[in-house]
Symmetry: C2
Subunit: 336 residues, 2 copies
C-alpha cells in the first residue's frame, strides 16, 4: 500500500506514528507532509528508516492509496490546519487513516466528501462494540508474554517491542507484537487502541488481544502505554499491566529525562524505584519482574550513550540496551 | 421524588445502588422490586435505612416519579428479565434512571415507548462529551481532598465517603462527596461515572469533578472505585488516585475477605502492604498517606467486629472503624 504521512510541524521528533510506520510498517511511504520541513528528505532527519521526500501539502504528494495522520497530539484532537490536506486526499479518492480520539468518520464534511468519492475513513481508535470486563485469565495462555513498560509516555515502548520481535524472529522464535496503540494497530492491521476503550473494559481489551495472539505465536511482546506515575495516563498503564498478566517486563526510559513530558512539575522517580513499583503493582494479579531495560540515547554521543546504558543496567540490575542504536541481542537472552 | 428500586434477586447484599439510595438518597423509596423477596419489607433485611415494601413487579408499585435500576451486575449489562418492569414503568409515564453500561435511551423499544409516554430515560453512566486528558492540577485546589480506596470492589468506599461527609458536617465542616460511580451520581444529582469514561480521559474526569467541587466546599471526600490489585478495575482506581491528587487516603476493607470478589484465584495482599502500595503509586504524582481505615464487619458479631477493627487499625498503624456500625467520629480526627 502506498501512503503519505501527515506530520505538520512535528516531524520527526514529535511524529511518533509517522516514525513507527517509516521504521516498522510494510507500507511504502511516498511522502511525509510537513510544511515546516518541505524540501528536505526523511533521510536528512532520520538515517535508519525508509526514505521519502518531505512536502508542504497534499498537492505535492504523488499517487497514493491512503493518507495517514502521522501525529498524535496530547488529547488526540484534530487540528483545523490539517483539514485542507485531508479534504484534498479524499477528493483524490484516497482513504484517510487516523488514530485520533476525534473520529474522521463522524466529521460531517469528511463523511459527505468520502461518500461522494468512495474513499474510506478509517479511525483506528474506534473500539470494538463488544468489549467487556477482564476475566483475569491472560496469565493462562501457553505463549510467553513480555510487556514493555516505561518511565514516561514516548519513552520507546513501541520501538522496543518491534526490535525485540525482529531479533526473536531472527533466532527462529515465532514472536509477535500485541499492538495497543494507534501506530501499532496501523502497522499490524489488527489490535485495539486501549486508551480509547471504556475505562472499565481496558484490561478486558488487552486480555482479549493476548488470548487471540497466543493461539498463533510462542512469544508475545505486548506494547505498553503511558507510565505508572503519569498524571493522566497511569490508568491505561495499569489496565495493560493487569490485563496482559505478563511473565516479564522490559522497562523503557529516555536518557536524561527527569520530568514527565508535558507535566514538567511531575518528576520521574529513580529508575530502580520505578521498576520496583511496576513489580509491586503487578504482583497482586501476577508476579512479574523487570528483566531488561531499554534506553533511548538519541540525544547523546556514542560514548555518553554507552555510559548511560551501563548506568541504567546497573541501577536496574538487569541487561540494558538502546534498541535502535545497539540492537537487542544482549537483552533478548534475559526474556527466555 | 418518589421512586421504586429494581433489584431482582439481588436485594440486599448485591444491590449496592439500591442500598446506597435507601441509606443516603433524599428520594422517597415507595417500593423495592425483587421477585425473590416479594412480601418482605426492607426493614426485614436492613434495619438502619429507610423502610419500604418489597414487591414482585411494577404492577405492585404505588404511584412513583421514577423507576431506578438498583443493581449493577459485573459488566453493566441489561438483563432481559428486567424488561417487563421497565416497560411497565414507561407505560405509567414514569422516568427510568439507570447506571448501566447498556444505555436505556439507545434501546429502540424503550426509546420509542418513552417518546410516546413523555417519559425520560436517564443513563447516569453516559459521560459528558467534552472530557479530555488530565492537566495534573487537582492538587492545587484550596479544599482538603480525601480519597476512599479499597482492598476490593464493594468494600465500602461509597458508604465510608458518605459517613465521613455526614460526620464532618455535624462538626460544622462544609464537606461534600465527589461522586464517581452510578450510585453516588444518583444520590448527588451530579458527577461522572468514571469507569464509563474513555480510559485516556478517566483521570481528567476526576480532576474536573474535584476542581468543580473545590470551588464550593472545604472538605472533599472523593468516592474511590475498584482496587489497585483488581484484575479488571485497577485502571479506574489508578486514574482516580492520580486524577484527584488527594491529600489523604482512607482504606476500606471487608473483614475476613481474602480473595477478590468474583476473581477468587486472586488473593488480596496483606492490608499493610496494600496501604503501602497505594501510597507508593500515589507518590510520583502527589504524596498521600493512608490516614484511616474502614472495615465492613457486617458478617461478624459485635465482639468479633471490635477485634477485627482493632487488628485492622494495628496493621495499618492508623485509626479504624466500621462506619455503619460504630460511626466515624474516631477516624474523622485523622483527616484534619
Amino acid at each position: 500500500m502506498d501512503i503519505a504521512l501527515l506530520a505538520h510541524e512535528q516531524f520527526p521528533d514529535r511524529a511518533k506514528t509517522a516514525l513507527g510506520v517509516l521504521r516498522y510498517g510494510d507500507q511504502t511511504v511516498r511522502a511525509v507532509i510537513d510544511r515546516e520541513h518541505a524540501g528536505d528528505r526523511v533521510a536528512d532527519h532520520v538515517p535508519d528508516v525508509q526514505d521519502a521526500p518531505i512536502v508542504a501539502s497534499m498537492a505535492d504528494v504523488p499517487d497514493i492509496d491512503a493518507l495517514v495522520i502521522g501525529i498524535a497530539p496530547i488529547g488526540g484532537g484534530f487540528e483545523a490546519s490539517w483539514r485542507p490536506d485531508v479534504r484534498a486526499a479524499i477528493e483524490r479518492d484516497c482513504d484517510v487513516i487516523a488514530g485520533l480520539h476525534y473520529f474522521l468518520a463522524d466529521d460531517e464534511e469528511f463523511a459527505a466528501l468520502a461518500a461522494e468519492h468512495d474513499a474510506q475513513l478509517r479511525d483506528l481508535r474506534r473500539p470494538p462494540e463488544d468489549l467487556t470486563v477482564a476475566d483475569g485469565t491472560a496469565g493462562n495462555v501457553d505463549a510467553d508474554v513480555v510487556l514493555t513498560v516505561g518511565t514516561d509516555c514516548s519513552s520507546g515502548k513501541m520501538t522496543a517491542s518491534y526490535e525485540l520481535r525482529d531479533a526473536a524472529r531472527e533466532q527462529g522464535i515465532d514472536a509477535a507484537v500485541v499492538p495497543t496503540g494507534q501506530t501499532g494497530v496501523l502497522i499490524e492491521g489488527w489490535g485495539i487502541v486501549v486508551d480509547r476503550v471504556i475505562a472499565d473494559f481496558a484490561a478486558g481489551a488487552v486480555e482479549r488481544l493476548v488470548e487471540q495472539a497466543a493461539d498463533e505465536h510462542d512469544l508475545l511482546i505486548v506494547e505498553g502505554q503511558g507510565a505508572l506515575g503519569h498524571p493522566a495516563y497511569s490508568g491505561v498503564t495499569t489496565s495493560i499491566l493487569h490485563g496482559a498478566q505478563p511473565d516479564a517486563l522490559v522497562m523503557c526510559h529516555v536518557a536524561g529525562r527527569t520530568a514527565v513530558h508535558g507535566y514538567e512539575e511531575t518528576a520521574i522517580p529513580p529508575v530502580d524505584e520505578y521498576a520496583d513499583l511496576y513489580e509491586r503493582v503487578a504482583a497482586p494479579v501476577r508476579e512479574s519482574a523487570v528483566v531488561a531495560g531499554m534506553v533511548n540515547t538519541q540525544s547523546l554521543r556514542e560514548d555518553a550513550a554507552e555510559r548511560a546504558i551501563e548506568a541504567y543496567a546497573d541501577d536496574l540490575g538487569v541487561p540494558a540496551t538502546d534498541p535502535v542504536r545497539f540492537g537487542v541481542d544482549d537483552v533478548l537472552e534475559a526474556l527466555r
